[in-house]
Symmetry: C2
Subunit: 354 residues, 2 copies
């Protein structure tokens, strides 16, 4: 009897109601409300510590006399090779970018491979070479690693985890808490390329111009803004859930409202066409080489000049601003001039996009 | 034509002969010669840097004014719950131990989950709670994380990657290069529990006494040796490939011969019985809470006293010594007094053991 009661108590102690969600669904990894519930209700309370509480792309802490940033991501993108990149370049740039979003200079990466029995050696070699090239371009060293192999049918070719260590270069930790009413929201370039490159490949869509992923390292762009003494309040790369999810997360964490203007958000012709075919809104589509930066209004023009002079920010725009209003609300002025509310997606708009 | 030649050149450039190994096999993750070939021929040259060249459980480097250690491991153990632990406690202790083997005090961990669609929420909750408990016991904080979900049939319940950051406490980096002829080889306790706990569960073997995994954090034991000023030359935890692989790897890296004595190596009755049933030699079986330490002969007795006073080293023994002889050779004096050579296993003795 005791065992049965214990089991019942255990089930009741689960912070995600087991009766409602007895199993993990794809949406728990999609960057929307289900992902958030898992993080906020289960992981953060269970592992509870002040670093996790910052709710950022990485943790920032002091070790000895140094201020470091530390972050991790697992990559399960499918297909593993896609226009503009592959799971290897993605695994390096994704983690490099998460460190940069903390205001840190990426230094060292780890690489953990979970290989499926039967993966072609040639594919692994291509992925490894791509990682080496991306690491060189981003100026980081892959210093430690691990390889596991799972039986055929228990994995999917290759999953890669990278964790990264960097040194904080910004004068203050860049967290959503620093966002202020009046801040301008700057976007580094056109959105939707990565998600649409993957989806077009998966769905067999063909356009006149092939859509290439925007997969790129953003650390140098961020270091340049810091070196030029732009007082960047907060940064976020626009991965799973896209621009919309990034803006909502920051509005919630910062306790502010953010107003965006769709007419200022660049979307390339092929991405727009692919989104229309698939019935998707580009503001929800994943990017792997785009960021938003929150800067004081009076530094906006100088910040844009610096970004536009950089390879990874040449199409930078100001796309909105932080206003007083309702905490966590993100609004968007549409192409036709009406203003709507940007909702967090519940699940996975595009599964296994990164 | 060019494309075809390029493809041929690319295949020829692969450092693992594609004609011989066209695909990844389970042995590439097993810790034996196939794993080693992948690491030594592909990963190390491709990512080439001095940190990887140290061939250790983790990388040690300077950041700013601090000397840090950094390591990663992915955990794919099956079943995810086993006597004495689960994939969660394993993922924390395994990475804590890899940091400790560098002579570092573990401080911060990352956690990257790859969940299979359909995993029961209850299982995830059990694993998360187990990780939190193990982290608390080992004195580390899980400060950053990531969750991905893959479609049903493309994963196996849950894979966890943990990376860890620690601060170097030993006066010198503990690498195999410090091993000296004359060093004593100390073993912290009886071997084979983890591997046999998993195999007994998988094979449905039942013994009078259930075999429990030795899964435990070893950092405090290592920090105690360092605090007591034992001049530890090198440490290695006895995971995949067991005592045999650890000894061979160190003999190779250090350029020495190691002589072991089987009569001094403790193996519990149930582990010995299970090994006999399955036709395995306990020196190849994985452990998750055991280490070998190389110390100068004249510090051996004091080191053993310190280890035996510690919970994780109470059955510590001296099991052999480093001798002049053939580089990379490990010999063992058997129960009946003859001396044999310990070979590196080619593949995976026990797949998905960690």
């Amino acid at each position: 009897m005791t065992g049965k009661d214990d089991k019942k108590d255990f089930r009741l102690s689960c912070p995600i109601p087991i009766t409602e969600y007895p199993h993990i669904v794809l949406g728990h990894g999609g960057g929307g409300t289900l992902s958030h519930a898992l993080i906020e209700k289960m992981f953060v309370p269970a592992f509870g510590n002040p670093y996790l509480d910052a709710r950022h792309d990485g943790a920032v802490f002091d070790v000895d006399k140094s201020k470091l940033a530390f972050t991790t991501d697992s990559y399960v993108v499918r297909p593993i090779f896609f226009p503009g990149g592959d799971i290897g370049s993605l695994a390096v740039n994704g983690t490099v970018n998460d460190l940069a979003m903390c205001g840190a200079r990426p230094l060292f990466l780890s690489a953990g491979f979970v290989l499926e029995e039967g993966l072609s050696m040639e594919s692994l070699w291509r992925v490894v070479q791509s990682m080496a090239k991306a690491a060189k371009e981003a100026g980081v060293s892959i210093v430690t690693g691990d390889t596991k192999v799972v039986d055929k049918g228990k994995g999917d070719q290759v999953f890669i985890n990278t964790a990264g260590v960097g040194i904080l270069e910004s004068p203050h930790p860049m967290t959503p808490k620093n966002v202020r009413v009046g801040d301008a929201v700057l976007l580094s370039g056109d959105i939707g390329r990565h998600g649409m490159a993957i989806m077009a490949r998966r769905e067999g869509l063909e356009f006149e111009t092939e859509i290439e992923s925007d997969c790129a390292p953003l650390a140098d762009l961020v270091m340049t803004l810091i070196a030029e003494k732009i007082n960047v309040h907060c940064l976020r790369d626009l991965t799973r859930g896209g621009l919309a999810s990034a803006a909502i997360e920051i509005a919630e964490s910062a306790g502010v409202q953010i107003d965006l203007d769709e007419r200022d958000i660049p979307v390339s012709g092929p991405v727009r066409a692919a989104c229309e075919v698939l019935g998707l809104d580009p503001i929800y589509v994943a990017n792997e080489g785009r960021l938003i930066a929150f800067v004081p209004e009076d530094e906006k023009d100088r910040a844009l000049d610096i970004m536009r002079a950089h390879r990874e920010g040449r199409d930078a725009r100001s796309i909105g601003r932080v206003v007083e209003g309702r905490t966590g609300l993100v609004t968007i002025r549409t192409q036709i001039g009406t203003r709507g509310i940007v909702d967090m997606l519940s699940g996975d708009q595009l599964p296994r996009i990164c």
